[in-house]
Structures are given as C-alpha cells and as structure tokens.
C-alpha cells in the first residue's frame, strides 16, 4: 500500500494517480463544469467564481497552517498586494501610472506579492503559535494603513477602479461564464498542486517540522528555511487568487485588505477544515452563500454575528471544520457497518500512500 512497498513490483499499467480517482471525484468535476450552463450570471459569478477564488486564497492559509503549523493572518494581504500591483503596473481608470499591458503587469504582480509573502515568512518564522497570528495580523493592519495613506502610488482610501480583465482568444474573460471557468481552472490547478506537494519531499519535511521541529533540526534540516519557503509557496497561491479577486469587481482599495476580509479568510479556512486542501473550498462555498443570503433572514449588520456564531459552533463541535464533521459521521457509519477504519492524522493519510512516481 505504501509507496515504499512497490519498489520491486513491475511497473503498473495504470499510473498511480489514476487509481486514486473515485466516482465522487468525477461527479464533482462534472457538476463544476456543467454548473454555469444552468446557473444565472449571479449564481455563476457572485456565488460560483467567488467561492472558487476565495477558496484559493484560503487554500494558501490551509497549506501554511495545516501542513506547516503556521497560522498566518496576512494571506489576504498578500492577495491584495497582487491586486494592487496589477493596478499600479497595469491600466486603471482612476490613477494611471505605468499602463503596462496585462501580460507584463501580471507576472510582476505575482512576483512582488510572492516576495512580500517571503518577507513575511522571514519576519514571522521565529515566532510560534499565538505570536505568529499576532505578528502577521500586525503586518496586515500596517499594509492597510500604508495603502490608505499613500496617495502617490496607492491612491489613498479610494484605491483603483476600472481595472481591465484579461482578454485573449477572442474572449472577454470578465464575462460571467469565461470568468467562472478561469476561476475553476485556477482553483483546480492550485488544489492539485497542493495535493501533489503534500506528498513531495518538501511537503513531508514541512509536516514533520510541524510535528517536531526540534527533531527535524537534529536530523539536518534548516527548519526556518523550510518555513520561509512554505510562506513563499503559499504567497504564490494567494497572489493568483488575489488577481481573480480584483478582476471580479475591477477594483482594489484599502477595503480589499481591511481587517474584515483578512479575518474572512481565516473563517473560511477554519470552517472548511485545515486538514485537507478541499476544506477551504467547502468553507468558501458556505461563507459566500451565507454572505449573500443571510440578508434575507437577518439584517445585513448582523452578518458578522451570524458568521461568528457559526465559526464558534464549528470550532467547538469539530476542530477540523466541516471536513472533520464529515469524517466523524462517516467513521460512525463505518463503525456501525463492517470495519471502523481509523483515519490516520498524518498528512491526510497521504504521504505514505503514493507510489513515488
């Protein structure tokens, strides 16, 4: 079963990754592809695409917290940096600066945001637990005020509007259906990348560092360097999610990286569950649905109260979020049935079971 056991076996006819595909995976994929064909533009973009790219940003937090044991509150800030940079280097209608085409502005934005995330990593890796949360929150708040008070580059509290979306292949990628599919592609690629990475040598060492940093140091690993690299990887994911974020509305302002959105990402990741990369997407769907429809049930000002209560309820009942609830339920069912297969905690059962392709 473990990848280490297949060494002497003849090369299997089907690649290892194919064997991990289950019917429910195919069903989910078919649903996600067919969804905008039946959904209204509101459901396609406001609910569908938004869940996907918020899930991507929350996924970057899941990667750091779930595999690295580092809860960083500045992932939305990193996403916002990417959004700001694409506005600064690209075109916008409020405060034009460089006016570069998107094909040049996008890579620059991603590189700068990833470098920013790396810097956050360098600053925060020497801290642990609550101090990591505090220092990354402080960085996020500082970035907010900096953007709000700087007019020369960041255009102060009004920020930038009129950002053009990507065009190409004869399509406006901001139109509902293309935007949805672009978000879906980004989400799927980010998800698969994280799933793959979790079982790579880097993913394994990161999880081992999470479990026992002192031991890893005494095995020859530069623990802090691994953590910084994890921040860089997570920063890259958040940056790409951030581009979709600002393209949806065509605007970026200090409000994008205000404390509210910063906390939203934490809420999404924790509600969904930090144990598996699918968690942040589940959390994002629930969050976006509530944000859009809670208004029908309660007054808009009460939304934060509601989401706060749900956050509390989920954390208290299941520290692993909705994913944990799901696992709890399916374990109960299995225990009632044939075998109570125990869900191993380590790396989502993951590292040991791939075939080391």
């Amino acid at each position: 079963m473990s990848w280490t056991a297949t060494g002497a076996a003849p090369k299997p006819a089907t690649p290892a990754w194919m064997k991990t595909i289950r019917p429910q995976h195919v069903l989910v994929l078919l649903f996600l592809i067919a969804y905008p064909l039946v959904a209204s533009p509101f459901w396609t973009v406001q609910i569908g695409a938004q869940s996907l790219f918020l899930g991507v940003i929350a996924l970057s937090l899941m990667f750091l917290a779930g595999y690295g044991g580092m809860v960083s509150l500045s992932q939305m800030t990193v996403a916002g940096v990417a959004g700001y940079m694409v506005a600064v280097f690209g075109t916008n209608s409020t405060h034009p600066l460089f006016g570069w085409p998107l094909w040049a502005a996008v890579p620059i934005a991603i590189v700068i945001a990833t470098a920013f995330a790396t810097l956050i990593g360098i600053i925060s890796v020497r801290t642990a637990g609550i101090y990591t949360i505090m220092i990354t929150l402080a960085i996020g708040v500082a970035a907010f005020y900096f953007a709000q008070q700087n007019y020369e580059i960041f255009n102060g509290h009004s920020g930038f509007a009129g950002l053009p979306g990507p065009v190409g292949f004869g399509m406006d990628w901001r139109a509902p259906m293309p935007f949805y599919y672009m978000s879906l592609a980004v989400a799927a690629l980010s998800y698969l990348a994280v799933v793959y990475l979790a079982r790579s040598t880097f993913g394994l060492t990161l999880q081992a560092i999470r479990d026992n940093a002192r031991r890893m140091n005494a095995l020859g690993f530069n623990v802090n360097l691994h953590r910084v690299v994890a921040h860089a990887v997570a920063g890259l994911i958040a940056a790409i999610g951030g581009l979709l974020y600002v393209w949806m509305n065509g605007r970026v302002s200090p409000g994008t990286i205000d404390i509210g959105p910063v906390i939203d990402i934490l809420v999404i990741a924790v509600i969904g569950g930090l144990r598996h990369p699918i968690g942040p997407f589940i959390g994002a769907v629930l969050f976006v649905l509530m944000k859009n429809f809670a208004i029908d049930l309660i007054s808009p000002e009460r939304f934060n109260t509601l989401i706060g209560l749900i956050f509390l309820a989920i954390v208290l009942v299941s520290p692993d979020g909705l994913l944990g609830l799901w696992r709890l339920a399916s374990d109960r069912l299995k225990a009632a049935g044939l075998n109570g297969s125990t869900g191993r905690q380590w790396g989502n059962n993951s590292w040991r079971n791939n075939n080391g392709k």
Partner: protein, 259 residues
C-alpha cells in the same frame, strides 16, 4: 585547502573537545564547566545518577539546548555557535532518551527523513522516486538495525524495543563520524539488549561514539573509556575496570543506586 589546514590545526585527531562547557536553566547549573575529549574512533561511556546532567551534556554538544559558556570543537572545528542542523551535516548524530520519532509515519519514512536531512534534495518539490538514493539508504538502515520486517509499519505500532532500534537506525544515516547514544538500552528485555550490543559492536571502527548507559553489562562491553558525571560536572575519567573498582564512584553512583 584553507579548510583542510584549519582542520589540521588544533586537535583534528580528536572527534570532540569540550572546554569549560556549561549550561544553566535559570538559576540551575545543569552543566558545570565540563572538559571532555573524545578521540577519533574512541567509544566513551558516560555514567552518572539521574539528574547528573548527562542528557544536558548531549544537548549542549548537538546544540539542541546550546551551551551557555565554553567551547565545543568537532574534529578540530569550533561548532559552539552552530545550529543543530549544521552540526548534524558535519557528521554528528544522536539518539534521544525519550522517543522523538514521527509516530504517524512508517519506519521507512522516518529513516527516509534521517537520510534526506544529511543529503541534498531537502527542498525537492517532487515526490521521491523508488530509486531515490535517500530511500535506498533508508532501506539499508532498516536492515542494519534489524527492522526490515516492520519497515512498512507505523512507528506507533512498534514495540518499545523496536522504537529504540529505529532511533539508532536514524542516527546511522549518511556518514556519521560521532554518535551520541542516550540510554539506548533503557526498558529493553535481555534479548533486545543482546541485539543492541551486537548492533553497537558492528559499527565501523572509525565511528566514534559516546553512550550514556546505566546497564554496566551493556556499557562496559562496548566502551574503551568511561566518564562519570556528578551534579553537572565531570567526576572522574578512567578505564571500565578502574571505574568499576573506584570507591568514590561506588559511593556516589553505584553504591547510591543499590543503597
């Protein structure tokens, strides 16, 4: 070239030289100006009652809990200020008195981590291949410490004795030059002790080691010299025979233990 010259100076013949090494925890002096020299290829035993500072000495040598005073040289090189991972990459290894294994991983995965830690490719973003050199070394190590039968088992499913063997296997990764064994025989059955003595005796002669061991049957069979510690300081050095017959040692350690 310059490196080689520097190493040749100042006792490169010695695996380990400690000069006035101390470690304090707040007001507690856990290690008090320890001088210790271990020759290349030498096997040294450390004796001392509980709380004498033996584990603290190991922690200072590896940097797990760095020394607060004194100097540590490893094959001539001053490593006092180096992080543990840098000392490990230079050929230092250790085992832990209390298990520090990755319990949710298999035996082979633990060994793989140990082999990866002292080789290149630590940041590889791809999954290890079956012919990965570190993975092959891990399999060899599983064999060397008599764990090939349970290589795929999770550490949490191993017996206490097997976990101690795995600790030793992880300390053998790469090219160790000096290994620190912290009470490897604790809690082992007589049969497992014989196994342990066999593994230790089979180590290549060029590998130096220091072993903390209460069980004189184990310790005296594998060591050349013995250092006795008392209250964080070195109490006495000597050959196994000298130490066994020393009345002072009997009093503070052996006597104390039996009486």
């Amino acid at each position: 070239m310059a490196e080689a010259l520097r190493l040749n100076r100042a006792g490169a013949a010695h695996a380990l030289v400690l000069e006035g090494v101390s470690r304090t925890f707040g007001a507690l002096v856990a290690l008090d100006k320890v001088d210790l020299t271990v020759g290349a290829g030498e096997r040294r035993g450390i004796l001392g009652a509980n709380g004498a500072g033996k584990t603290t000495l190991f922690n200072a040598i590896t940097g797990d809990f760095p020394s607060t005073a004194g100097r540590i040289r490893f094959f001539g090189e001053d490593v006092t200020k180096l992080a543990p991972f840098e000392r490990i990459r230079r050929g230092m290894r250790r085992t832990y008195q209390n298990s520090m294994l990755f319990r949710g991983l298999s035996v082979l995965d633990n060994l793989y981590l140990a082999c990866r830690g002292v080789s290149a490719g630590r940041f590889s973003f791809i999954r290890p291949r079956q012919d990965d050199a570190a993975l092959e070394s891990a399999r060899d190590l599983a064999h060397a410490v008599h764990l090939d039968g349970v290589a795929e088992s999770l550490v949490s499913d191993l017996s206490h004795g097997q976990q101690r063997q795995l600790e030793i296997g992880m300390a053998l990764s790469g090219a160790p030059r000096l290994i620190l064994f912290d009470e490897p025989a604790a809690g082992l059955s007589p049969a497992e002790r014989r196994d342990l003595v066999q593994i230790l005796s089979a180590l290549p002669r060029h590998i130096s080691f220091v072993i903390i061991e209460h069980d004189l049957d184990v310790a005296l069979r594998v060591v050349d010299r013995v250092t006795v510690m008392h209250n964080g300081a070195v109490f006495k050095h000597g050959t196994p025979a000298e130490i066994q017959d020393d009345p002072d040692v009997q009093r503070i350690y052996l006597g104390g233990k039996h009486g």
